[in-house]
Subunit: 207 residues, 2 copies
DNA sequence: ATTGACAATTGACACCTTGTCATATACAAT
DNA sequence: ATTGTATATGACAAGGTGTCAATTGTCAAT
């Protein structure tokens, strides 16, 4: 979390810093993001930066939290659009994220959201817990869907189904990015995955 | 890939370097891994390091590839143990990885394998493509399972089912690590997820 | 207007990084 | 012994981070 000093800053100045940070994070992997470059672009001093943010990680955390909130609000709208239907909601979320990819700046930044393997110590993982749970904990889809469409009405089971769907979404986004799929390809891939989840891969035993 | 110079080194010296690297990667996030510490522990000069490896990333890549090969071979054994049955194989892989977690050194290092969100530029993602696909491309489970247990016999559909299962496995491992679950908890979680995937979340329409 | 108290800003500083390269060394083959 | 080739070295340039004593800005109270 940025310090209160940061939030006391005039909005223009805040924005200038965030823009500079977003630019830098868009063009460099985390380990190569240079605070020097950011403060140069934002025209603030080294000392000020460290009053506003604890470190580079704190800054990234803030950027991501802004992004999360934006998506979360949009997902609320979507759930109404599709009458709380589960699969269509996931597909709409996918479409929305895909559209964000069209903006070059977002595209680069969005690699955060897709996420992939990286080396970290245990402390680092725990520190990042909040960030990691982005898809799973922060979207809170359970309250946005009609639960009667599931064949079980156990809340934990429904939540697990949501977890799997979001894991699938993440996987599809990852494939899309690395193979540069277009929307049609990406979407049909997602639907194929979701179809398998919907009816399972094995015949139910009616003994 | 390390240079041929590295592979020409006496095995003892290679091992000393790899051990020092593994230690460092186990105790620090990628961005904080210090080559200085590694060469100090391995008792080689700065110059030598850069003859052996292109950079820090090249080193990590090599460490991971070794790890991958180890798991891959073990998975082959497992598939025989469980008569090529799909779900039991996934559960056995999970058990195996969980056991690796008991070794403190492996535990820390294994965070690579679980993977999570991190900021990277597009170039970086492409560079890491090989590393990223670890679970999905490198285990090549299709050839290790009995395909008659699926209700469809379309190869791409079976492969997608495998993808989903591995995404679930990854998710469970992530939850296990961040919440410090014991094996029983972790395993039952995995089975619950896999059960949903097995029979789906919706009743099949027999119109 | 001036004061005083507190908030915000600054940049030099100490201490760390990485990747390079000219030089030194080892050692095998002639 | 000499030559050639592979390997090893560490000082160096260039750049990074986080800190802190000193400075400047702001604004309410006098």
């Amino acid at each position: 979390m940025p310090s209160s000093t940061f939030f006391n800053l005039p909005i223009d100045k805040q924005k200038k810093i965030i823009d500079a940070a977003q630019l830098e994070f868009s063009n460099h992997p985390y380990s190569e993001v240079s605070i020097n470059k950011i403060i140069k672009n934002a025209e603030i001093s080294r000392g000020s930066f460290y009053v506003y943010f604890a470190d580079k990680y704190d800054l990234l955390d803030y950027l991501l939290s802004q992004f999360k909130n934006r998506i979360k609000n949009e997902v609320k709208r979507f759930s109404q659009e599709v009458n709380q239907q589960f699969k269509p909601l996931i597909i709409l979320i996918h479409q929305h994220i895909f559209n964000l990819f069209k903006n070059e700046d977002n595209k680069k930044f969005l690699f955060n959201v897709i996420g992939y393997f990286q080396t970290h110590s245990e402390e680092e993982v725990l520190r990042q817990k909040d960030k990691l749970n982005f898809f799973n904990d922060h979207l809170e889809l359970f309250n946005l869907i009609d639960v009667t469409q599931f064949k079980f009405n156990d809340k934990t089971k429904i939540n697990k189904t949501i977890d799997i769907s979001l894991a699938i979404l993440k996987h599809v986004l990852y494939l899309t990015v690395t193979n540069n799929y277009n929307y049609q390809k990406s979407n049909s891939l997602l639907e194929e995955y979701l179809n398998i989840l919907q009816y399972g891969y094995m015949e139910e035993q009616n003994a």
